[in-house]
Point group: C2
Chain length 464, copies 2
Amino acid sequence: MRPLTPTETSTLGILTAACLAVLVNTWRSDGEPLFASLAISGIAFAFTYATILWSGEVFMRKGFKGRDLSKKNGGEIPETMGLVCALVYLLVLVSFLPFAFKSHIVASTLDAGYDKDRILEGGGMETGRFLHRFPLEKLASYGFAYATLASTTILGILDDAFDMRWRHKFFIPAFAALPMLALYFVDFGVTHVSVPVPLRQYLGVGELIDLGGFYYVYMGAISIFCPNCINIMAGINGIEVGQSIVIACLILLNDALYLFPAAHRPPHPAEESHLFSVYLLLPFLGVSVALALHNWFPAKVFVGDTYCYFAGMVFAVVGILGHFSKTLLLLFIPQIFNFLYSAPQLFKLVPCPRHRLPRFNARTGLLEPSVATFEEAQPLRPLVGEGLKLLDTVHIVRVKTDERGRVTETSNLTILNLWLVWRGPLREDRLAVEILLLQTGVGLLGLWARHSLALLLFTADNRF
Amino acid sequence: MRPLTPTETSTLGILTAACLAVLVNTWRSDGEPLFASLAISGIAFAFTYATILWSGEVFMRKGFKGRDLSKKNGGEIPETMGLVCALVYLLVLVSFLPFAFKSHIVASTLDAGYDKDRILEGGGMETGRFLHRFPLEKLASYGFAYATLASTTILGILDDAFDMRWRHKFFIPAFAALPMLALYFVDFGVTHVSVPVPLRQYLGVGELIDLGGFYYVYMGAISIFCPNCINIMAGINGIEVGQSIVIACLILLNDALYLFPAAHRPPHPAEESHLFSVYLLLPFLGVSVALALHNWFPAKVFVGDTYCYFAGMVFAVVGILGHFSKTLLLLFIPQIFNFLYSAPQLFKLVPCPRHRLPRFNARTGLLEPSVATFEEAQPLRPLVGEGLKLLDTVHIVRVKTDERGRVTETSNLTILNLWLVWRGPLREDRLAVEILLLQTGVGLLGLWARHSLALLLFTADNRF
């Protein structure tokens, strides 16, 4: 890894100084926490950008390194650098708390008047400020969000350090999500969902249906799905962190629809939830963009499983604690497609090679679909082979058959390979850009559908 | 590592089954959370005990291993096994939350009556249960305690994986403690301390003095001190986890003084804080005793820095969020002594060898004080040498001098070596037992002083 260039040093220095000035000013003038969040995200960006450069050597010395298989003469570069993002993120999330609650601290302090006698007489000494005015439910959300993300980081590190098996690590995020689910259980406890109008008469239910325990299974599934689906849509420079940035921006856009005063007056009842989401996502964008600059083609660092889990869990946390998990899923459509498309290989219906990332053609410098080949000794089950051939005819996969019509080879079942099947060989960064544009387009379409078509299915928009 | 013996399997199985039965029963009958906490701690013990045996191999394969220097032919054994304790602890802490808040969940649900229309009309859908009855400040404490301990675990893993330098890792716990300090800042905000009566007229202050920002520095110092002082009172089998168990038991004794109804009626105002402490410490005892059984002489596993940080931070969390950090320090007197006694070597006044653990005499099988020797090329500063000779005359250290009276060698400045200077060579387990008895005795004395002598200095007992 190289040291910071003078240009980088001065740019990051000026950015940090400007952000610190905004922070101090926001604190003094009791300004909007949003400005503090933006400033803290700027600092998080600068700090992450520099720390990745500084710590790359240490990571490599300790064995956190890998070889880029899609480069002509790729040396080893640091792996697991998403850990830096996670640590900086946790640090700035805590630093933001005093800003988020400044107005309440001042209000409740004035309320109590810091009247020592009164505090002493009332037995209030033990609790300090009088608590009934303080938005403790918000504070608890931050605490448990932090707890969940810190747990995710622990399990990510363990995965990166111990190379866990796929079937073990698939369930890891469920453990990490426990603090969030516990908070939901003891605090919110809402397990009702709105039933789409057309379904009500068939199901014989009213506007709301109480899913009870199943709602926790659903939330657990969300927190397993988000981290894992980012982890499996991987394999080319910049794609893990790129898709995370796109999804974060789309959620922020959705938040803005609720928060932008012109769109909804009077203030939308879900405003607090969406502010929570904004405050969690802005610093996430800060650390992710810094990582993306190092991880973009040609990558100088790898992000590691830690980043994928961490990013996915940030989305799960804002979706679940912000009560918009179904909207969230609309932004994960490419990931959902990729997961379903991968399923035959993940569940071993179709043999799954160790790596499924697109094949690098050293002669052209372009990526081509990688393939899984089937040995004579371990042929495909005939039914599966017929299925693959059927998919081939509608161009959802590319197979090769031998003279007897048996499938001997198929393109690996990932969205990246499928895109290459459709578009032909592409350079690595071109492929990443196109997939990210696809993600953006599908996400925007999803949000449009969510906000304009939802009224056809539900009696009111934005219930969740 | 060996598999579980049939006796172990059946004992752990019966224990787990019994604890599960207690848990189910407590849940059904809305029993005291204390029983749930005891049952969960039992499960934590069984789970930790078994997982350490199961995962030892994996840890060793990944390079987390070390050689026991105080054994005749010590092979390599797994290192960092305290990580298992930390992970199990975090898991059971979350699992305990529904039990801790069961009565409140029921109460607030009944209160709201789960009246769907009322919830909908009142806009309460977003928040579910009505919040004003729910003890959210307690819930936030658990969330931030978890957040702090998870952060400590992350930094402990990084320390164990990256072998950080002493001067860097000294400050690690301060970062991990940030969530707790942030909670304290935005939620409690009590920065007043009682002034001892005799000091009031000299300082010209009243009963309370507001330390403001200095109180946060003080709390930060506590959270740096507790983890580090357990980490430096180390080096023989069972001492890290043994001292943690003793301290935890002493804190529980102190909690019992507040909670036991016979001692204080009506219920003490600090009861909630001490229940919080009990609920955090019982599962800690569970995982620690399990680790101790594997780490006791002759050790089958090492605990690692992760455990020391984790244990120290558990104490810091209960002391700070439970508002009895000064009492806590009374239980750390041997650690405080060890830290002050070590200071000349920690701050390089006296040369500090890589390891300061007692020296194993392979001939006798006993431990003797280890020594730091001073080369002719790098002699001691004369003043430091004179100081050491002075300490030697009062038997606080053992030095050797050359014919010109210059100090050539000193026993290493740790409480373990000092004890060996006083008591002569001891077997490793004997030394551990004696130091733990010392810890127990001094702690009991401290608690007695705290509760019987405090009235001489303060106008009321148990203010904090």
